[in-house]
Structures are given as C-alpha cells and as structure tokens.
C-alpha cells in the first residue's frame, strides 16, 4: 500500500465533483484527502486527491478518471518533485497552566494565532500533512476543542504545468 497524490483538471460543470467522487465510491477507491478549487483558467477546476493503494489500484484509478468526459488532464504528483501543503485551523482550550507551552509549540511550528479569548485559542498552521499531524499530536497534551483541515494542495516544482487538453 502506497500513498499517492493525483491532480485532475476538470471542466467546471455543475455536478463535476459528484461525478469524480461517485466513481471513487463505485470502484471502492479510498480518498484520504480531496480539495477542489478554481484555477487560472475560468472554465477549469483543479481537484487534488490523495489516495492509497497498490500500484495496480493507482493505474486503475487514473484510467477510470480518464473515462470521465469532464476530466481534461490528470497528473500524478511525485512528492519529492512537487510542493505540497495543507492548511489547518485548530482551537485549543486557553488554560493558564498550559498557555505558555501552547505558545511555544505554536512558535516552533510557525502557527499563527488568529483568535484569542479567555477560554480558547485558534491557531492557523500551513505545512505538509505530516507537520500538521505532528502539531495536532502535540496539542493532544492540552485540550483540543475543534480541528478543521483543508486537505492537500500541490504543484509541481519548476515551470512544468499540468498539461491541458482542449476544452
């Protein structure tokens, strides 16, 4: 079992996300993370999906994606050859005894405080999924009230882009 990340350019049509995720569900592919957003081209959206499975699963997933008419382009993003990050908002209890430790950890990870009240602190952290996991793990020593993560986004290093077929 390997983790892999795939970027998919899709036509920005009504229901396109449903088409993609419906295929994942039907063919029983895992989705570890999924993000969708508009791109530099108005008609296109970019889906970044990370999944896990055998090499054959990955091939099958890519081949099944190609069969969706709304899919314009697909690229597997190699972890070392791309810049990948994720954003997390985390709300922890503001406890006078742990406050200083939380602040130290946040500064070590580069997390920014966005909201500070007597009862709670909201911090924002961007980084790799692993960094976010590590920070979350650290925060478990205190009281985590809520977590919200975006899922990963990724671009290839250098000037290469995901090639676009005609729309």
């Amino acid at each position: 079992m390997n983790n892999f990340t795939i970027a998919v350019l899709v036509r920005n049509q009504f229901g396109v996300l449903n088409r993609v995720t419906s295929m994942f569900r039907r063919r029983r592919f895992n989705i570890n993370s999924l993000t969708v957003s508009e791109t530099e081209s108005p008609g296109l959206s970019r889906i970044t999906v990370s999944s896990s499975g055998l090499e054959t699963d990955k091939k099958q997933l890519i081949n099944q994606l190609y069969k969706l008419p709304d899919v314009c382009s697909i690229k597997e993003l190699n972890i070392t050859e791309s810049v990948t990050c994720e954003l997390m908002l985390i709300k922890v209890k503001n406890d006078p005894e742990s406050r200083a430790d939380v602040r130290d950890a946040a500064s070590a990870f580069g997390a920014k405080t966005l909201d500070y009240t007597r009862e709670s602190i909201i911090m924002r952290l961007t980084g790799t999924s692993r960094e976010l996991d590590a920070f979350t793990d650290l925060m478990r020593d205190y009281t985590i009230l809520e977590i919200c993560r975006t899922g990963i986004v990724s671009l290839e290093r250098g000037s290469t882009t995901i090639s676009k077929m005609e729309i």
Binding site: G15, N18, S22, K59, Q60, N63
Partner: protein, 558 residues
Amino acid sequence: MKLSGADIIVRTLIEQGATTVFGYPGGQIINVYDSLYKYREEITHILTAHEQGAAHAADGYARATGKAGVVIATSGPGATNLVTGIATAYLDSIPMVAITGNVPTTQLGTDSFQEIDITGITLPITKHNYVVGSVEELADTIREAFRLALSGRPGPVLIDVPKDIQTATCEFTEQEPITPEPRQAAKEIRIRDAAECINLSQRPFIYFGGGMTTSGAQDELKELAEILDAPIGCSLMGISAIPTDYPRFLGMQGMHGHYACSMAMHRADCIIALGVRFNDRVTGNRAKFATHAQIVHIDVDGAELDKTVSAAHSMRGDLKLTLQKLIPLLQQKKLPEWRKTIEGLKAEERRTLDNRDGLTPRSAVLTLNKYLNENTPVATDVGQHQMWTAQNISLKKERRFLSSGGLGTMGFGMGAAMGAAIGLKERSVLVTGDGGFGMCLNELATAVTYKIPMVILLMNNGVLGMVRQWQTLFFDKHYSNTVLERKTDFVKLAEAFGATGYHAENLTELDEALKKAFSADGPVVVECMIDKDEFVLPMLPPGGSMDDIITKVGESDE
C-alpha cells in the same frame, strides 16, 4: 429558423440519423411527443408497453444495426423504468441515447410531482449524462451525446430536459451527423513487444469479445489466426462476430462455454485477448486462470487492461488498427502438435455432447437453426435457455446474437428482439424461458400492434432453471422459490394479446410449429416443454478452475 426546444430535440435526432426511436409519453415530455407528431413523416416512434421495453428495444436496435439506439421517456417513473435498460446497455457497451423530460427548472430539487434526479441515479450506468441548462445548448448537447455514445468503447448517454427548456425557443441550424472520435492504434513499441512474445508461443489461442464487433476487425482476426495457426474462442458477447462454423472457431469460453474452447484456453501458452474484459464468468478463480499462458491484451478502454487479470502485454487501442500493425510483425507458424491437441479436445467435446433423442434443450435449438436465414437476429433472455442457445445456435453474420452478457437482465430479450427486427427489417427470434418471458411479456402487445415479425421460442420448464441448477449442485436441492408452478396457458396468452401461439411437447410438434411461425406475419409464441431437471453443461463452478469443470451430472445425483 427559430424552433422550440421540443422541436430542436426531434430535429437533432433526425439530423443524427435516428429515424426510429422507442419510448413512452408522459406529462413532462408531452411537448417532445407533439414534435414527434409534427415530424412523423421523418421519424418513427415505437410506443412500447413499458419504458423498460423501450430501453431494451433501443438497445436491440443498436446491437443489430451498430447505430445508436434512442429511447424517450417522461420524468419520474418513466425515467426510473429506463434504468435496467440503460444499465444493460452500459455493461455490454452498447451505444444508446436516452432522453428524459423533467419538471421545469424552477421546480427542480423541490420534490415536484413525478420529479426524480435521473442524472444522479444513472451516474454510474452511463458514459455521461446531462441536465440541459438552456435551450441554446440543447442541440449541441444531443450531438455531443451521440458522439460520446458511439466513440471509443460505446455506451449509453442520458439527457434530462426540464420542461421549460422544451418550450423555450431559439435559433436552430441543421448540421451534419457527428463523426465518432478518430480511432487509434496502440503504441508501436507495445505492439513490437507483444509480437515478440507471440512469436515465441507454441500454443497460441485467440480470444475475442464484444469489442470485435464494435471495431469490425473480423478480417484481421482471421488473418491473425491463419498466421499463428491458432484456434479462436470468444466470450458470450463475441458470439456471431464470426460465423459459428468458421473452421478455427471453438465457440464460447467461460462458465458454460464449449468444452474444447475452455480447455484450449486453459492449455494455451499465449492468449491473445481482443476486446474482452476477463469477467469472473470467464475466468472462474482468477488465481488459477490460464496459469501457463502469457496474456496479450488489446482493448480500446485502457481501464480494462490489468483490471482483473494482469497481462504480460497490454495495449490500449482500436482492435482493427492495432492488429493491422501487429500482423506484419508476426512469423508464420505451423503447429501440428497444438492442432492435434485441439482436435483431441474437439473429439472429447463431441463425446460429451447431448445427443439424446427427442425434445431436449439442445435438439430444440438445433431445430430452430434450420429456420434461420443468414440475416435472422436471435435474442435471448437470461438463464439456462440463454446458455443452451449460446452453445448451439448457428449464426453466419455479425450483430445477429443479442444477449445481456454483462448485467444478465431477465426480460431483456422481448424488447431486444423487437428492436432488432425493426432495425434490420428482418424477422427476429427470441429464445426465452418461462421466467424471463414473464418479466417483459407485456411487450407482446407492442409486437402485435406494429406487426413485428418475431418467433418467440419459449422453453417452458416450469422452474427458474439456472438458479435451480445451482440449488441442485450447491444447495442440497433446496429448491427455494425456483419452482414457478404457474397455470399460465401461453397459447391462450399469445392469443389474448392478438398474437398466435403454439404448444410443442415433442420435436415433431416443435418443427411444425416453427415452420408455421417462420411464415407468419406478426409475432408467434412457440412454447416448447423442457424437463425441469435439464442442466446447462459443461459448468465451471463459480470461483472454480478448469480442473473443477463439470461435464456430466450422474443419474444417481438426480
């Protein structure tokens, strides 16, 4: 020319060459039916008894003609009744365009009367589907649907048209019929690698499926077989792509395939698989499937490669174009040893053939064969009769065997046989069972209304034979809900519908009934009585390998 959306739908269908369509009217598609009335000189609409029958008829029309079948239904239940028909076409890669009406755009999503999310429902059983958002995009959406349905690996496409889009108007300019996406051969380098592998083979076996008919690569197939001195087998979907009596052809492979064909495939050292997808009914236990063989797999759908069986050489490409590039790279073979093995297997198959006197499933199909001409399309339902037909039918031309291979839809045959008869303007044959016929016999009314020449050979054994066979073999003869014990008089039933019916207890009666049926004007039901304990043999038990093949069921077992 300014037209309403409804007119645009019908004009675009005519433009795309869809001059016969199947369907059933209703409230949210009534405008389209008004346009069908308006343009009735240019387009024929066949009104079926049920939307499912219409979908199967459009499917049968497509299978027989190679054109996209068109089916039209209203919103809600009209649309949901299409689902089995669309899924049947999807699993067998049949080009179909389904058009459904829906409630006006402003009412979508409010659970209006007869509103259903048919695009959501059909997402996993269509190549693509659309909800049309404006009348301006309607014509191009239909054109795109035809292009998708017919390109690459064909399949069904659904277009859902809200009522307000049907009534809105816009400018319409007729265009040329679409051309499917250009076909492409597989990559040269892959073809070269595959050729090397095939050239080393001592026991090559060619195995083709439905993709053979879609690609029209029969000439290349025969050339390949001659060069390799190889036997040919097919999947259920491949039947009729080449003549049944073609000398190198061993017939169908799989769970109930021909003995020689299945064994030859098992013994081969190289399987050249053309337009097939190695379904579980073909491979049995995948771990034990063709363990001695290198597989060379060519398919137009890349997702079929290495999906269930991993091939030594897999290539995405059109069969015809790829074979044209592959064949010149192959060395002429002479394989007397392999030939001898095949001849031995064929002799073994002849020994196990059911040659009993009297009316048996096999003798019934052999009797039917006498009356087929080379153009007669033969449809089946699903079950024992389907396998008996697949094993024993004799066909000369491509697109003449219509059977629900992937989905295994009981009730498919009635609609399919009607669609094929209409598409080819030929008398069609339906071989069915009392179970399958019971599911869609309402379409007998349609066949009578349109005077569709059809011979319905109904093998009546009073049981759901295929399930019962499994119960006999694997469930200690617990015949749970497979004994029909119905009191239906099929001769009277046929007559009540306005058709003709015959009843045959023996071969002579069957022969006489068929003789009359094949000269009748409209549909004729020929009921022939089959013993409930008849088996489909050989049988590869589910999940078994060729070592587990059952060729005989002992008397003591019964």
